[in-house]
Amino acid sequence: MRKTWIAAVACALSLGLAACGGSAPSGAADDAPAGGVGPDGTIKIGSLHPLSGAAAADGQQMDNGARLAVEAINEAGGIKSLGGAKLELLSADTQGKPEVGQSEAQRLVQEGAVGLVGTYQSAVTANVSAVAERNRVPLVIDVSTADSILQQGYQYTFRVQPSSTVLGAKGAQYLNEVATAGGAPVRSVAILHEQGPFGSAIRDSFTAEAERLGIAVGPVIAYDAASVPDLTTQMTQVKAAGVDVLVVTGYYRDGVLAAQAVQTVQPGVAAVYGVANGAFDLPQFPAEVGQAGEGFFDANYHADMTKPETQELARRFQERFGDPIRTGAVLAYDAVRVIAHGLETAGSADPEKVRDAIAGAELDTLLASGGPIAFDERGENKNAIPILMQVQGGAVRQVHPGEFAEAEPIYPAQPELATR
């Protein structure tokens, strides 16, 4: 029976390894004091993103976005109120693991970062925000949805993207508006969501708003994003329920599986509607799933591609990294701009003064937004909203609300399927 034991240990180990990673070597304790202008006149900003692991594609995009922001600010003359001091980006790899993110954040602070941006995964961000708070260094969150991060009473953490409450509620409102305008009001929706805190939070806020608008919600089906091999059974449940619209909240890989299952099962819904979906509004999604993704909606925070500044950034990004820019990178770009703006207004590289300047900041943004970036007392961006995108002709287009629209929304999105 020795082998059974070996196998049991192996199972336990592989589960354990999935949860923990090698701790990153912490940099040699630097003599430089925390924060401030370095001896060579540069000011350091830390960028914490998953550069390896399952989310590496997004993490690398975001790190590149932060890098472009630093370069653009330096080219424009650096921080003028500090005598044109140049910025320097310190990049760190969180590997998508909370404890690695925590130790890397500590290392960046010790190396003199006056501000941090990051980190994509909510669990990692939660740990990094604790480090920021303890060291009194501002953290500007580019991407991380969980509401709980900013409910700790933290003074040094700010978030550029909309919280899950805003994402879910606005998602339901947009659906109602687009469907009513399309002449086929929504009466019932099914929700397919990943079972983690992200998917569950969106499910709750979407459901609350949808029911307020008189839309029946159910069935609600959860799946494990990390391991789900196929979504056809879940899609058949949706088909059997005969709902008007399928709402999907999840990450990239499972979003692709959902699109494939929709094509296979043909659930007969008027629209497949992502809420903060990690797949449906990415440029590579239509390329990967082809015709299966045509007409898919996604209500999500997004770069505003109708703004000339954003188009210019997208062009530079493509030129420099040979990859179409994603919204995550634009958020990282804006997050670095927020810190630079704080430095400029504070006229000081003291992290505490920078924090105060960020708290009172008002800064134009490259994102689709209800107004300039400005933070409330909890650190949430007051004007952050999602917008609605739709895959049309193999490309992701902004379709709603009107002021952000590049194209008209097409609803019902799959009329040939909608006629049951």
Binding site: I6, A10, S52, A57, Q284, E288
Partner: protein, 337 residues
């Protein structure tokens, strides 16, 4: 505790022989029990969901997904049964095979099924080189050595793929892939093909182990490497060949899976946990057992999702796993000591 001493001292280690119980006799009682439990689960799922089509879709998907799990676990169980190595690099080999398929299909324009042959050969050679070059020296060492070596290999392969291919997800399309109706349910042609591939691979490995001299030698080494050496079997050669065959299985699985998954450096690792569960459930070293327990796990996952709505489908998988290990610690088709 060195391996040979342990094997001599514990003759009941034959439980790990990669023979199948099916060779001598079909375990009817156990097969009936498995089918009985399945029928009850289907009935309950029907009561819970109230829709026949949903249940038949769950069963069809469960069987097809289960075949994929069995496919991934076969190479792992072979290596486990014969070499006693917990091969953490199996998922990484799978990822390598996925990227190999991607490269063969996109760069050389091959049909994914043509890429299969190339992938199997390439992964066989790679497996042989890895065993001979990296693992051979650790064969008589404690378990942790091999475990850490394979873990290190997995990291090297995954990060190598990240370096060369980048982190962007990729995909391979099977020309002419479409939905096929089965019993009121639908399944993609690519999934049915992967399932058929799993059956063929299980059959081929079964015949190899049962009907050839090489297979007999492999089983002998698994039963007792010292004994095998005494009757003139070159155990080092068997170790190399078995590891190579196991890795070639990952190669075959990689090509068959390529149209079904999003190809990323970490894609293989996502199968690792399930694959270990399948290996233990099926009985260590039992190739046909791996296929059957793959089906059991696939069905548990799909029906469990219907029976326990709102819970992780993995919950049902691990309930089944723990129950089976409680009732039969040697696995469904392992031999009792």
């Amino acid at each position: 505790m060195s391996r040979p001493a342990e094997d001599v001292a514990a003759p009941d280690d034959a439980a790990a022989t990669p023979t199948t119980a099916g060779a001598a006799r079909v375990p009817w009682a156990r097969a009936t029990a498995v089918v009985g439990v399945l029928v009850v689960a289907v009935a309950l799922a029907y009561l819970q969901s109230g829709s026949g089509i949903v249940v038949s879709q769950a069963v069809v998907t469960g069987i097809l997904v289960g075949g994929v799990y069995g496919l991934v676990a076969m190479g792992l169980t072979l290596i486990f049964g014969v070499l006693d190595i917990v091969n953490f690099a199996h998922g990484a080999f799978l990822a390598l095979a996925l990227f190999g398929t991607y490269w063969l299909v996109t760069a050389l324009g091959l049909h994914p099924l043509v890429a299969l042959a190339g992938n199997i050969v390439a992964m066989f050679v790679l497996g042989a080189l890895v065993q001979r070059g990296v693992l051979a020296g650790a064969m008589d060492r404690p378990l942790e050595n091999q475990l850490l070596i394979t873990l290190g290999l997995a990291m090297i392969i995954e990060n190598g793929l990240l370096l060369f291919f980048g982190a962007d997800p990729r995909s391979v399309a099977l020309p002419g892939d479409r939905g096929v109706a089965i019993l009121g349910a639908v399944a993609d042609l690519s999934r049915i093909l992967a399932f058929a591939g799993a059956l063929v691979l299980a059959g081929a490995l079964f015949l190899l182990l049962q009907r050839t001299r090489l297979g007999t030698a492999i089983r002998a080494v698994a039963a007792s490497s010292t004994g095998a050496e005494l009757v003139g079997i070159d155990t080092r050669r068997i170790y190399v060949l078995t590891f190579a065959i196991g890795t070639a299985c990952a190669g075959a699985a990689g090509t068959l899976l390529a149209p079904l998954v999003t190809i990323e450096p970490t894609t293989g690792a996502q199968f690792t946990i399930i694959a270990f569960v399948v290996v233990v459930l099926g009985g260590m070293g039992n190739v046909v057992g791996a296929l059957v327990s793959g089906l059991v796990i696939g069905l548990a996952e799909q029906l469990g999702g219907l029976l326990l709505p709102g819970q992780s489908p993995l919950l049902a998988v691990f309930i089944v796993f723990v129950l089976v290990l409680f009732l039969r610690p040697q696995g469904l088709f392992g031999r009792s000591g």
